[in-house]
Each structure stands twice: as structure tokens, then as C-alpha cells.
Amino acid sequence: MEILFILIPVSILLGAGGLAAFLWSLKTRQYDDPKGDAERILSTEWDDRPRPPPQKSEP
């Protein structure tokens, strides 16, 4: 039964990890354009190097 003291925290930690990943994906607005994201993966643009961040803009 002592195995429970390891397994229960492990199962909760794994679940919490999944929850944290979900919350992060929500925070970074990864569900705003599901259709576009599904298509963008097919684009060959920026296959060689990452896309540079948007140019800095001052108001």
C-alpha cells in the first residue's frame, strides 16, 4: 500500500501538468484561429528559419 504515497502524488502532478499546459494555451490565445493554425502548418514559409517577431512599433 505504500506505493500509493508515490502513485497518488504522481497522478495528481501529471494531471496538474496537463491543466497547466491547457491554461497556458488559453492565455496565449491559441484558440483564436483554429482553422488558420491548421492551415498554416502546411505553408512552406518560415520553414528554414523562425519568423522574426513583429517590428517594434511606437505609437
Partner: protein
């Protein structure tokens, strides 16, 4: 009414949000273009990865464009380009083959809705996580864990479940509190009571090392009900964003003339006394009087007349009319919200008030459900207290009753059916703006159509092509192609369809209000009003006419008719076949209405109907007990649309008409209207079936709970089986 004013309220939202600048970095990076979004363009034809790449590359290659990001889900591109206007960027996209329209960014307020959606999703995520973990521990307890192990599992469950219930249940607690304060017993009151009672009892049992804990039931309840709430939210968010996009497509701008110089301003900034210029093809932005220019005006959206009327100095125009041929200068008499729109808002509010509020099936069910559930729980508590004298046992039984009767079916089944049905209708081109519209549509037995712009396209079509001699056709095409007048365009379209090649014009000039004049090999050619080209006007004109006069030839009379909307005949036939009454009310002339009625197979029709008459006709039908579906597009239909049991307007309708109606037809085809009624009836049947299913579950499970036989396992089973079966039933919708 609130909808109406909300849509009209174009405030300077961008500057009104100082906190936006301090938003978290993560949000700024991902939504950089959206947050500052100087320009938003609609891309109705974008559909693939190549489209995204093409559009973004073309826009970023433009000087001054700092960021451009396509959102394929919304079919929009957000552009951050200070100093560049949409008029400069739209041709860039059109050159590479993408249709683009400017959207008024101040109307696209979806950010608040997005935040609400993310909030519900976050609560679903948390309760889902808690549900799985607590369920693992509960299964261990149900399979026979006893003593210290069971207590430890209960404690771990409590640590996970209690914070989850507080966090994930917040929307229910808040809404229950609001309805209690208002003295009502909403559906969220028994939900909140069940959540609180189940958590409290379970905690109490855990502290006293009791055998039963309902932590799993509490978090599962949160999860299922939140899913139902999210479905409900999605349906409304999709409809609202599509409706907003239609409104945003009409950027409310006007050309203000100041000391002879043209200046583009927002319509909201116009004041009485300003002079504005209306270009051909543009919509009149404000009520006013013409002070210069000659043109023809299309009033069909206001009066239903399909024939254009002459406009010259001294003529009074109303906002919403369309200028056809020549530029007009207009002195504004009433601008923006002071104009005819305010009068209209008043009429719409009156009509909506007389219609009364419609209680949806779910509302009526929950009105019955809440008292019954509370009474049952109270009754079981009293009974067990009387029998055993042990308040702890009695409270346990009462909690079990509340959990088992909890309205998962009510909270999940109705949104699931409505989501499935509105998703299907949206795919067929019908946008549902109001949640109860689907149920009202199912009851419809009488359909009232407007003619111009609804059953017809509001666009003329040449019907006397045979009258035009073959050798004149190239000349006719050349001269018609040089004009933007609807009749010329119809003539050109008919000739192009015949495969005619245009002749070469030596000289061409449009005479606004009269017609167009040109020269081919020394021959003068005129196309336009009969008296202007030097021909005698036909005696009985049952539609728009135009005369083509070529020097040396007899003048040719060209007759036009308003083209029927595709699918209109099939739609009317389908509605009549299903035994429903179809009526056509139009503000147009009797001959034009009679001809359209004959083409469509409509037997009941009235011509020359004023907006007041339309509303009165619908009110009269309603008093006879008819459930009326009104389909219309113009300002003259707006009061009738608001008064009818349920209403539909095409996407080409005026903003005010779309706001007043419950559904918007996105495409040109009218056929989805007939199918929508059938789908709505099917959806209503599914909702009722789902009620029957959950009532059946309750009839079986509630006696168990009241007899004190309900274990947490039984509660969990009853809840999940009933939730899943109603959702599956909802998805059966075809």
C-alpha cells in the same frame, strides 16, 4: 431595443481603454495586430494555407505595413499600418485575386466575448482535471477501500474538489444570487444548492470518517453544466460576430464639403446644415435636401418601389436611399441619430413591446422544475428527520435527492440541440441571432414576404432582348458598359451573356438623370429616358424602361423587370406544399407586384402597402392566431419585422432591418428559409425528447434517492448516463 442602440453606438473605443496598453506581454505579442488593429479587412474568399501566405506576403511588402495577420476562422486580416488607408490596401489584395472589404473596427467588439469564452473554458479545464482525479480516488472507495485508506482518499478528494467547486461553480453562484435578489427561482438556484450542500455534507462526512462522500458528483456537475454553458455561449458568439461583421461592412462615412474641398468624415460627426456629396452608387448618409446635381435615386429599401426616381435641386432625400447616376450635393437637415433612424427606432421598440417576450421551452421547464426539486428535497429531509430523528442522515438523503435531480439534461441538452441546429443552419446560409428564434420558427404557419429586395433581387433584368436588332447589339453593349446605371448594367450583362463583343466608342458622356450619350463612326447614340432620346414614352410601363436611339435607326424600347431571387420560386412552392399560408406585401406598384406574384405562384398579395399597413397587417394576422414569419429587407419592413412572431432579413438588407430581425440570410439563395422551418421543428422535437429522457431518469432515480438507497456511485452513474444520452440525442439532428 437595447440591441438597436448598442449597434448604433459607435464610440471611440480604442482610446477609451488605457488599460489595454498595460495588458500582459503574452497577450500583446499574440494579438499585436488585433490589439492595435488599425485596419480590419474581411476576406470572404480566403480558405487555405496559400491564401494566408499570399495575403500576408502581399500586405507586408507594402511600405508602411508593420504587421498583417490573417484569421482564417473569421476570414479577416488584421493590419497594423499607420498612415495607410483601406482604400490603398484593398486593390493590393484584389490584384492577387482576393476579394476584400473594409470592416469598421469600432463595431467589432468581440474581444469582451472572447474573454468570456476563455473564462468558461478555463473553468471547464479546471473542473475536468478535478473530475478525473477525484473519480480515480472515488472508484477506489467504491471498489471497497475501507478505514484509514478510505478516509485518506476522501481527504485528498476534498483538497482537490473544494477549491474546484468554489472556482468552477462561480458562474452558477453569481447567477443564482442575482435571481434570488430579484425574487426569482432560476435554474441556477437548485444547481448552486446542490453544489454547496454536496460539498458541505461530504466535508462533514470526511471529518467524521463517514462512508459516503459526493465530491465526485459535485465536480462532475460543475463540468457537465459548464460544457452546456459553453455550447450556449459559442452559439451566441458565432451569431453575434457574424452579425457584427455585416454591420461593420458598412463603414459609416460621408464626404463633407467644406469651402469646396472634399473631406471624409464619420457619419456620426455630421450636423444639420453641413453639405455632403453623395457619389453615384453610394448610400445617402443623412436626411437632407439636394442643393446641386442631377441624378436618379433608388428608394426601394425605404418604400419598396422598384423604379428609380428623379432627383435634382430641392428634392428631399432620406438616409438609406441609394444614389444611382450623378453626384449630388446635399444640405443635411437631420443627421445621424436625429434622422429618420431615431423615428424608426421608436417604431421598432413599440412593435417589439407589443410582441411581448417569448418564454423558451427551457425557461418554461425550469419554471416548473425548480420548485418541484426544492420541495422534493425538503420533503425527503423532513421525512427522514421524522423517521430516524438523525439530522445527519436526513441531510444526506436531501443532498442525494438534489444531486440526482440536478438539471444536467436541462442545462446541457437544450444548448446542445440549439448549437447543433444553428450550426446546421449557418452552413446553409442562415444566421440565428436570437436564442429563442429557433423555437418560434418551429411554430410558424403563415409567411409574409416583402417583394423588392427579398423575393426579388432589387436589381433589374432585361426582358425584351429580342427587340434589339443584332447589328445594334455591339453598339448597345459599348454604350451600356460605359454607364454605372442599374438599367445599363442589366443591358450590358444580358448582351455579354449573349456573347456580343462591344463596338468602339469615339466619344461618351453621361448626362446624370437622363441617360448616356456616345458617338460611333459619326453616329450619335443615346441610351436613357424616352423623352430625352427623342422617342415617345410607352403608355403602359409595368416596369423600368430605357430607350436606345441610334441616328438612322428607329428607337428601340428596352423593358426591364426586377429579377427574382434564386430559390424564391422553390421556396414559395415548398412553403405552400407544407400547408402554410404565403402572403406578399409590397410597397411597389400593382402591376409590378401582380407580375412577380404570378411568376412566384403567390395567390395572396397586396401592392402599395405603407410601412404602417405592413405592421398592421401582421398584427391583424397575429390576432387571428396566426404565427407569422416576416421576411423583409427594407426600412419599410422594419416595424413589421419587429412585430412578427419571428423574422428573417437578407444580408443585403439595411442595417436597421437586420437588427430588427431574428435571423439573417447570408447568401443570395432564398431556399434555406423553407428548410429552416423543418429543421426548427425537428430541433424542438429533440428538445422535448430530451426533457422526456431526463424526466424518465428522474422518475427511476428519485425514489431510490428518497428511500436513502442512493450511493455516490449511483448518483455518478445516473448523472453521467443521462447527460451523455441527451447529448447524443441532440447530435441526431439532421
Amino acid at each position: 431595443m437595447s440591441d438597436f442602440s448598442a449597434n448604433r453606438d459607435f464610440g471611440p473605443r480604442i482610446s477609451a481603454c488605457p488599460a489595454c496598453d498595460a495588458a500582459p506581454l503574452a497577450e500583446r505579442v499574440a494579438g499585436a495586430a488585433a490589439a492595435r488593429g488599425d485596419l480590419v479587412l474581411s476576406l470572404p474568399t480566403a480558405h487555405c494555407a496559400t491564401c494566408i501566405a499570399d495575403v500576408e506576403r502581399a500586405l507586408l511588402a507594402q511600405p508602411g505595413v508593420r504587421a498583417a495577420r490573417v484569421n482564417l476562422t473569421l476570414r479577416r486580416v488584421m493590419i497594423d499600418a499607420p498612415g495607410r488607408s483601406a482604400e490603398e490596401l484593398i486593390p493590393v489584395l484584389e490584384n492577387i485575386g482576393y476579394e476584400a472589404h473594409e470592416l469598421d473596427a469600432s463595431i467589432l467588439t468581440s474581444t469582451a466575448a472572447e474573454r468570456q469564452g476563455r473564462d468558461i473554458l478555463m473553468r471547464i479545464g479546471v473542473s475536468g482535471f478535478a473530475m478525473m482525479n477525484v473519480m480515480i480516488l472515488s472508484v477506489a472507495v467504491w471498489s471497497g477501500a475501507t478505514g484509514a485508506t478510505r478516509d485518506m482518499f476522501h481527504w485528498i478528494s476534498a483538497v482537490i474538489a473544494l477549491p474546484t467547486v468554489i472556482f468552477a461553480g462561480k458562474p452558477f453562484f453569481v447567477s443564482a444570487w442575482h435571481s434570488l435578489k430579484a425574487g426569482r427561482l432560476g435554474m441556477d438556484v437548485p444547481i448552486s444548492l446542490a453544489l454547496i450542500l454536496a460539498s458541505a455534507i461530504s466535508l462533514f462526512e470526511t471529518i467524521n470518517s463517514g462512508t459516503h462522500a459526493y465530491f465526485d458528483a459535485a465536480v462532475m456537475l460543475c463540468f457537465f453544466l459548464l460544457v452546456g454553458r459553453y455550447l450556449d455561449f459559442r452559439t451566441r458568439a458565432v451569431a453575434r460576430s457574424a452579425a457584427e461583421e455585416l454591420t461593420a461592412l458598412e463603414v459609416p462615412r460621408a464626404i463633407l464639403l467644406q469651402d469646396g474641398a472634399e473631406q471624409v468624415v464619420n457619419v456620426a460627426d455630421l450636423a444639420a446644415g453641413d453639405v455632403i456629396r453623395i457619389r453615384p452608387g453610394a448610400r445617402v448618409a443623412a436626411d437632407g435636401e439636394v442643393i446641386a446635381g442631377m441624378s436618379e435615386i433608388d428608394r426601394s429599401l425605404l418604400t419598396g418601389e422598384s423604379l428609380p426616381v428623379q432627383a435634382g435641386p430641392g428634392v428631399v432625400l432620406s438616409a438609406g436611399e441609394v444614389n444611382l447616376t450623378g453626384p449630388l450635393d446635399l444640405r443635411v437637415t437631420a443627421a445621424g441619430r436625429d434622422s429618420s433612424l431615431t423615428r424608426l427606432a421608436h417604431v421598432v421598440a413599440m412593435a417589439e413591446a407589443t410582441r411581448g417576450r417569448y418564454a423558451s421551452l427551457a425557461e418554461r421547464a425550469s419554471r416548473l422544475y425548480s420548485p418541484v426539486v426544492h420541495l422534493l428535497a425538503l420533503f425527503s429531509y423532513g421525512l427522514w428527520l421524522y423517521w430516524t430523528g438523525d439530522w445527519r442522515v436526513a441531510l444526506n438523503v436531501a443532498a442525494a435527492v438534489l444531486i440526482i435531480t440536478c438539471p444536467c439534461a436541462l442545462g446541457l441538452a437544450v444548448p446542445a440541440v440549439v448549437t447543433a441546429a444553428s450550426g446546421k443552419l449557418f452552413k446553409r446560409g442562415l444566421l440565428i441571432k436570437d436564442g429563442t428564434a429557433l423555437e418560434r420558427l418551429a411554430e410558424v404557419d403563415t409567411i409574409v414576404f416583402d417583394k423588392t429586395g427579398t423575393l426579388t433581387m432589387g436589381r433589374p433584368e432585361l426582358i425584351s432582348l429580342d427587340a434589339l436588332p443584332g447589328d445594334l447589339r455591339p453598339v448597345a453593349l459599348a454604350i451600356a458598359g460605359a454607364s454605372g446605371h442599374p438599367l445599363s448594367r442589366a443591358l450590358a450583362a444580358a448582351l455579354v451573356a449573349e456573347g456580343v463583343a462591344p463596338a468602339h466608342l469615339d466619344r461618351v458622356a453621361e448626362v446624370p438623370g437622363f441617360g448616356i450619350e456616345g458617338e460611333v463612326q459619326g453616329r450619335r447614340i443615346r441610351l436613357g429616358r424616352a423623352d430625352w432620346v427623342g422617342a415617345t414614352a410607352p403608355e403602359s410601363a409595368d416596369g423600368p424602361v430605357s430607350v436606345l436611339a441610334v441616328a438612322g435607326y428607329a428607337p428601340v424600347l428596352l423593358r426591364f423587370a426586377d429579377a427574382l431571387r434564386p430559390g424564391a420560386v422553390a421556396c414559395v412552392a415548398a412553403l405552400q406544399d407544407s400547408g402554410r399560408r404565403v402572403i406578399m406585401l409590397s410597397g411597389d406598384t400593382p402591376t409590378a407586384v401582380a407580375r412577380a406574384a404570378k411568376d412566384l405562384g403567390v395567390t395572396e398579395f397586396r401592392a402599395g402597402v405603407t410601412p404602417q399597413d405592413k405592421e398592421a397587417a401582421i398584427a391583424a394576422l397575429a390576432t387571428q392566431g396566426a404565427k407569422v414569419l416576416m421576411v423583409g429587407d427594407g426600412l419599410n419592413d422594419t416595424a413589421a419585422l419587429a412585430r412578427a412572431h419571428v423574422s428573417i432579413s437578407p444580408a443585403t438588407a439595411l442595417d436597421a432591418a437586420r437588427v430588427a430581425s431574428d435571423m439573417v440570410l447570408m447568401g443570395q439563395d432564398l431556399a434555406p428559409v423553407a428548410g429552416a422551418i423543418e429543421l426548427a421543428r425537428q430541433a424542438r422535437r429533440r428538445i422535448k425528447e430530451n426533457f422526456a429522457i431526463s424526466i424518465a431518469y428522474n422518475i427511476v432515480a428519485v425514489p431510490f434517492a428518497m428511500m436513502g438507497l442512493a450511493t455516490p456511485l449511483l448518483a455518478a452513474l445516473a448523472m453521467s448516463v443521462s447527460s451523455i444520452s441527451v447529448t447524443l440525442n441532440a447530435l441526431r439532428l439532421r
